[in-house]
Symmetry: C2
Subunit: 210 residues, 2 copies
């Protein structure tokens, strides 16, 4: 059994945040596929044993189960000395963007994609509302990336690995990514890093999930 | 001028998270009212000088401007030694709940309240969707609080102060709070703490904002 086990699925950008970190750090990890589309994360058993919040990712390491991608990223950065903060100001800046990601970027983008791609609702007032919020968040990211290589400046950190979580799903997102050139350049920069893989390469997907 | 200045408004539960912490810690702070309802947080000037994310709260202290309520809470806990973690496991548990709050609880509850109370959209497919998500998040909180006094067990931490951010707005939330008795008892417990105040008492509100 690998040192690190990650409950995940290829469709989850939140799980991807953790999977990409594990892979970029070259850690010995294995995915444990979760049947999200048949409700596995929301069962009493999953909630009791793995995560009361009913979500992936869950990381098992050293007898511990960690949940919330931001916590997992921070844990792995501390353990490996990779992609973490060098001082307190950086640490706060990293958390600031991880919180923005959770509250504004992922919260709108992931939900929009879920409704369109998996729940197959088609265009509704809800998808329209979520898309407007996602675009607002993407504008903030694009503006921030102008003149920067990574979120903190010249060095890739877990803030980047959190924020890119859903951004490689391309057309599945149903937002005009081409409108955000600074963001696109940043995504290419991370994609060029040794060990980078797409979420669907890194984690198993549901047979009919897509 | 007070040592701590907080850009905020009474209608913002996110600003309340920081304001409540400042008040419970007995720190010398003053609110700087932001005219959110006339778009002040989204102006070029506000974004350039205070927060590129276009949001409150912003905390000024010691020549620094801090944003994101989770970062502000963590900063103040470190500085004062109050409501923070005692070890690494606690630290992770605190961040886990602050992230859940940002991603699932506040993200749905605050947006729902905004649409109904301030944007006056009435009931729409969007408010229905957000209410269902808010109720899911509240169920998780209620279940977690069963048999616990505070989020981490017996001691109030910044995880509690983050999660209660919107929960004292009562009827404004348009969710059935009475369905969650363990959560209600926890809210009463925090309300009973010395120095507790309601968001509308702690921060100035817009004249016609409510």
């Amino acid at each position: 059994m690998a040192d690190y086990r990650l409950w995940c699925m290829g469709e989850s950008g939140n799980a991807y945040k953790a999977a990409l970190m594990l892979e970029l750090c070259g850690l010995p990890w294995e995915p444990v596929w979760v049947d999200f589309f048949h409700g596995e994360t929301r069962t009493t058993d999953f909630r009791a044993k793995l995560n009361e919040m009913g979500e992936v990712p869950v990381l098992e390491h050293d007898g511990k189960h960690l949940t919330q991608s931001g916590v997992i990223l921070d844990y792995l950065a501390t353990l490996t000395g990779r992609f973490g903060a060098h001082d307190e100001d950086e640490r706060r800046e990293i958390w600031r963007w991880i919180l923005f990601d959770n509250h504004k970027l992922t919260a709108s983008l992931a939900t929009l994609r879920y409704l369109i791609q998996f729940a197959k609702t088609g265009e509704t007032p809800v998808t329209e509302f979520l898309r407007a919020r996602a675009v607002n968040a993407l504008k903030i990211v694009d503006h921030h990336m102008e003149g920067r290589s990574f979120v903190l400046g010249e060095r890739c950190t877990i803030a980047d690995l959190s924020m890119v979580g859903y951004l490689y799903y391309g057309d599945e997102l149903t937002v005009p990514l081409a409108d955000f050139p600074h963001m696109a350049a940043w995504l290419q920069r991370i994609k060029a890093m040794p060990g980078w893989k797409h979420p669907y390469e890194l984690m198993p997907s549901a047979p009919k999930g897509r």
